[in-house]
């Protein structure tokens, strides 16, 4: 028998850094925040992994990626094997490696993190995902099984479901309202966090698997579920229409020109390339003093985008303190590093109109933290007589979304009192031919949870349609 060399982790080695661009330089344009791991970096980082018998990291992953498995392939420099291992559970490693909140998931559970720094699983996943171009991959699909599935929405949930089904031999068509694919990956998440060429590569990959994409196709208006089943021969439908209408602060002056919702601000920038106006036709207001309201990833994206569009000062106003912010730690860290000023414990009262008709200031009041609320976080309560004004010529609200109004137009499915679709663990709705998942079921959540829902729905559809 050949001698098996026992793996000895490089205990004590520091976590490998991902080659970040200097904050002051990168905040001037839309280049990626870091260039990621080189092969050498990845191997060094892989050698930190303890290769635990009971890998807690996998428990932290919503789709259960075989993390120690792909990391051991990295150590062996088997890039194709590493990619294949991840893709068994997650079709979009380049995306998830960049946008997952790893500190609350895989890396949050990593045993190394208890006394020191967790393995940089996100960066490793991203690096392996990006190796796809180098290692190439022949699309492997089971033979066609004769069943047709329609998917509404080409965001993370829709494309995860599409990929799983295509590999199982289904004939899959994805209907997308926009002119291009990716959903929130394209219109929402900025270039510096997720380059669009990566989203495009993932969509191209699905096309290679035989998935058809129909753009400019608004479900519920151009077609509905009954037509897909009765006239176009589809056997099942997965609704992944995403989050819908943005929430607003409901304070006076909120509709003044210059006050944006983050969805609009980011869509103009990311999808419509407003940062390249007038080469691209879509304009965006260039603010000098920008104030962003919210504490989540979308708020961070908006604030960092404002910097890149040339703002002199960007203030992120949040009702609670930084400790309660729902954003990924890395995003808060990067935002501060790039110069976003965080103003804690404030609540907007009114947007003030300037002489030019645009917003010129926002009136805020101070808050303090009281008793914990339903979310377990301490509820912010106003401090009496604490109102003050700060100047702003662009304000951006990023305080969440409501249900997508197109869900109910697409198919006859039961909705809950918030207008979200009622679906079980497998994505089954009240309509036996319709599954649903992602933000239209959970309300605004993460890319990986939406993908997980797509994957579960695909498994459930397969069972239902093939009787397996």
């Amino acid at each position: 028998m050949p001698e098996v060399k026992k793996y000895r982790p490089n205990i004590g080695a520091p976590r490998t850094t991902p080659n970040e661009e200097p904050a002051a330089e990168r905040a001037c344009d839309f280049r990626p925040v870091d260039t990621g791991f080189t092969k050498e970096d990845a191997i060094a980082e892989a050698n930190r992994c303890l290769d635990c018998k009971k890998p807690l990291c996998m428990q932290g992953c919503p789709v259960g990626v075989n993390i120690p498995g792909f990391i051991s392939k990295i150590r062996d420099e088997d890039w194709a094997g590493a990619l294949e291992t991840i893709k068994g559970d997650n079709l979009l490693p380049s995306v998830c490696g960049r946008v997952c909140p790893q500190e609350n998931q895989c890396e949050g559970k990593c045993i190394l993190g208890r006394k020191g720094e967790a393995v940089a699983i996100g960066q490793l996943e991203r690096m392996v995902g990006d190796m796809a171009e180098e290692v190439g991959r022949a699309p492997v699909c089971k033979p066609k099984n004769g069943k047709k599935v329609a998917i509404v929405g080409s965001g993370p949930s829709g494309i995860a479901c599409a990929g799983e089904l295509a590999r199982e031999g289904f004939d899959v068509t994805v209907f997308e309202a926009f002119f291009t694919g990716g959903g929130v990956l394209t219109y929402g998440i900025p270039e510096f966090r997720l380059p669009k060429k990566i989203v495009k590569r993932e969509i191209d990959g699905l096309e290679q698997l035989g998935v058809k994409f129909e753009y400019n196709s608004v479900a519920g208006r151009l077609f509905d579920a009954d037509e897909l089943f009765n006239e176009e021969g589809f056997d099942a439908l997965y609704l992944a229409v995403g989050a819908g209408l943005p929430r607003f602060l409901k304070v006076p002056g909120e509709n003044l020109p210059g006050v944006y919702c983050a969805n609009e601000y980011l869509t103009r920038t990311n999808l419509m390339h407003a940062y390249d106006f007038p080469v691209y036709d879509t304009p965006i207001r260039q603010g000098k003093n920008v104030v962003v309201f919210g504490g989540g990833n979308v708020a961070m994206d908006a604030a960092r985008t404002a910097l890149r569009l040339g703002a002199d000062s960007v203030t992120l106003a949040y009702r609670r303190t930084e400790a309660e912010m729902p954003a990924r730690l890395a995003e808060v860290h990067h935002a501060k590093e790039e110069g976003v000023h965080i103003l804690e414990l404030v609540n907007p009262l009114e947007f003030i109109k300037g002489e030019d008709g645009f917003v010129s200031a926002v009136k805020l009041e101070r808050m303090e933290l009281g008793e914990p609320d339903a979310s377990g976080r301490r509820r912010p309560v106003p401090v009496a007589d604490s109102a003050f004004e700060i100047p702003c010529d662009v304000a951006i609200t990023a305080i969440g979304t409501m249900a997508n109004p197109f869900a109910k137009l697409c198919a006859d499915v039961e909705l809950n009192r918030w207008g979200l679709i009622e679906a079980d663990e497998d994505g089954r709705t009240s309509n036996p031919k319709v599954w649903a998942g992602g933000d239209i079921v959970t309300g605004a959540a993460t890319v990986i949870l939406a993908m997980g829902a797509g994957k579960k729905a695909a498994a459930s559809m397969k069972k239902a349609l093939l009787g397996e």
């Binding site: 151009l222 989050a243 209408l245 020109p257 969805n263 419509m272 109004p405």
Partner: protein
Amino acid sequence: MFEILKKTQFSEKVFEFRVHAPRMAKKAHAGQFLMVRIDETGERVPFTFANWNAEEGWIEFIFMVVGKTTQCLSELNEGDFIRDITGPLGQPTEVEGDSVAVIGGGVGLAIAYPVARMLCEQGKNVYVIMGARTKDLLILHEQFDALPLAGLFVTTDDGSMGEKGVVTLPLARLCETDSIDHAFCVGPVPMMKFSSLTCHEHNIPIIASLNPIMVDGTGMCGCCRVEVGGETKFACVDGPDFDASAVDWDDLAARQASYRGEEAVSTKRHEEACACQK
């Protein structure tokens, strides 16, 4: 890609395109709109359906040249392609009552026409009031004339055709003579605002079809929000039709003007590029 099957010029700056779009043609309703993106660098602009034919698989929309995008559109010809068209979007128009005034101003006449046609088909008594700055901008006159209307009134600001003045003159007369019980208006903000006031004085309900700036058109971005009855509504999914008496017109006008400066930059850049080519 969407092929332009037919191009019609109504006046110096007003055009109609017939576009091959069989799926959309089956689903369009009066009052709904579509979003156009001419090419890869284009912006998304909403236009209301002017006409459609499910059997022949085409839709039509009318536009007036006001900025760079509409200028570029007007330079396209039959056989050319538009990169993206999305629709139908928005709620179809519904007008109650038995006797209705349809008021259209300027390029809003393109939206008023399918609404008037639909109301005629529903067997209602339909009066149409056409308004424009001058005779050359009065589009679709023949088409309106061919409908079985109870009355057709024309006003121009300069008196070059019909009555000299604004649409509220014949509208007030219709209200005073109890000829109408409901109204629908579409056009520039001042026209809609004053039509609404006129109807309000006579207790006649009036609907306005609003035209704010839009980006996605499917309720995601919030760009098209308008204040109606003290509440923020989204013109793209809640509208584009709203109770005109509840609309905050100043708010709408201010938001429509948000990008005047940028629009001027874009238009100038396009004109200079055209001049270079010549």
